[in-house]
């Protein structure tokens, strides 16, 4: 299913043409997570490799629906998202990577609980837009993308765009009692 606008076309991870390497995930308080990422050249070989690495690392991480470059220690505006099969997802665009993405429209604000691989022991209530329009470019081709989505995919996109701006969900939690210790499963 695809939203309106200039969607992802027939872009797939395979189009990157390189094998992704699983990278270690950085956790807070690592400084790279709090720095705004640099804009990237989407066609540069290191961007293509970064895109592939993000997808590879996302895929081996259980429950991971998105991963941004700062989370693997790279201060760049690149992230991968895949909410396929998530129970809260409505519109789903499958696996994709965006470079230099920004939020251009945000409506239908709604609070929801979110976690983050870089803040592994905490979750928080964060108000996010339930419908967004995001613009960015695809790694490899540099093709511009204008993606319209909603529900959980919209939340994931906002979370990842925040990472690329050096923000964590902790910077947006709703109040003093909106941060929760994740249950510890032994």
């Amino acid at each position: 299913m695809s939203g309106e606008g200039t969607g992802l076309g027939d872009w797939t991870v395979d189009a990157l043409g390189v094998a992704g390497q699983v990278q270690p995930v950085v956790t807070a308080p690592d400084a790279v997570l709090s720095r705004a990422g640099e804009e990237v050249d989407p066609t540069a070989p290191e961007t293509v490799q970064l895109a592939a690495d993000l997808v590879a690392t996302m895929r081996v991480s259980p429950g991971c629906v998105g991963l941004a470059a700062p989370q693997i220690g790279v201060g760049a505006r690149v992230f991968a998202v895949d909410v396929t099969g998530h129970p809260k997802a409505l519109t789903v665009h499958g696996t994709f990577v965006l470079c230099n993405a920004s939020l251009v429209e945000a409506t239908r604000w709604k609070a929801g609980r979110e976690g983050c691989m870089s803040v592994p022991d905490l979750t928080g209530d964060v108000k996010r837009a339930g419908r967004v329009v995001v613009e960015g470019v695809l790694p490899g081709t540099g093709e511009p993308v204008r993606l319209t989505t909603d529900g959980f995919e919209a939340r994931a996109l906002q979370h990842e765009i925040d990472h690329c701006a050096g923000l964590l969900f902790l910077d947006r939690v709703a109040g003093a009692h909106a941060v929760y210790q994740r249950k510890v499963y032994l």
């Binding site: 905490l122 910077d171 109040g175």
Partner: protein, 170 residues
């Protein structure tokens, strides 16, 4: 009618709230505002109730604290603590590597601007320290406070954000 401030803290176990609430109910103490939460394996109750005299409550709580696992205090407080400040509601988030003095430094910035903290929690999660505070601030000082918090945050190597609290009325 007495207004009492009661604190109970001790090693967490099932039944602390039920035990304390039962004692208070038995004395006809009306439990009004309270927070009860687990802090690093200790269970902490802070509550205000109205009704009986403090010594009565102290005596009634004594069996609960006899084994040394719970600590209880009871104090008379004065009147209805009417809200002090005007100001608008803001939320401050602070996170970074744990170190001494983070809470002191950032809350001093708020205090110097006349900010009144209405709620605050902190969590230490591994080496990550997280503070979230709700604070009432005069809108005209927010820009100055934000700049000062950024400065203090840089000095402590922590990230600080201050933003308007969302308060939708449905």
């Amino acid at each position: 009618m007495n207004e009492l401030a009661i604190t109970v803290i001790g090693r967490d176990r099932p039944g602390i709230v039920a035990d304390v609430a039962e004692v208070l109910a038995g004395l006809g103490a009306n439990l009004t505002d309270s927070t009860m939460t687990r802090l690093r394996g200790h269970f902490a109750m802070t509550l205000v109730c109205s009704g009986p005299a403090a010594p009565q409550v102290e005596a009634a709580l004594e069996p609960l604290t006899a084994d040394g696992q719970l600590l209880a205090t009871v104090r008379i407080v004065r009147g209805d603590g009417a809200a002090l400040s005007g100001g608008e509601p803001y939320v401050m988030s602070v996170h970074g590597a744990d170190r001494l003095g983070i809470v002191a430094a950032v809350t001093r910035v708020l205090a110097e601007a006349g900010g009144n903290i209405t709620d605050l929690t902190t969590r230490l999660s591994g080496s990550l320290y997280v503070l979230v505070a709700e604070v009432e601030l005069a809108p005209e000082v927010v820009e100055r406070v934000t700049a000062r918090l950024a400065e203090v945050g840089r000095g402590l190597d922590v990230e600080v954000t201050l933003r308007r609290s969302e308060s939708d009325v449905l």
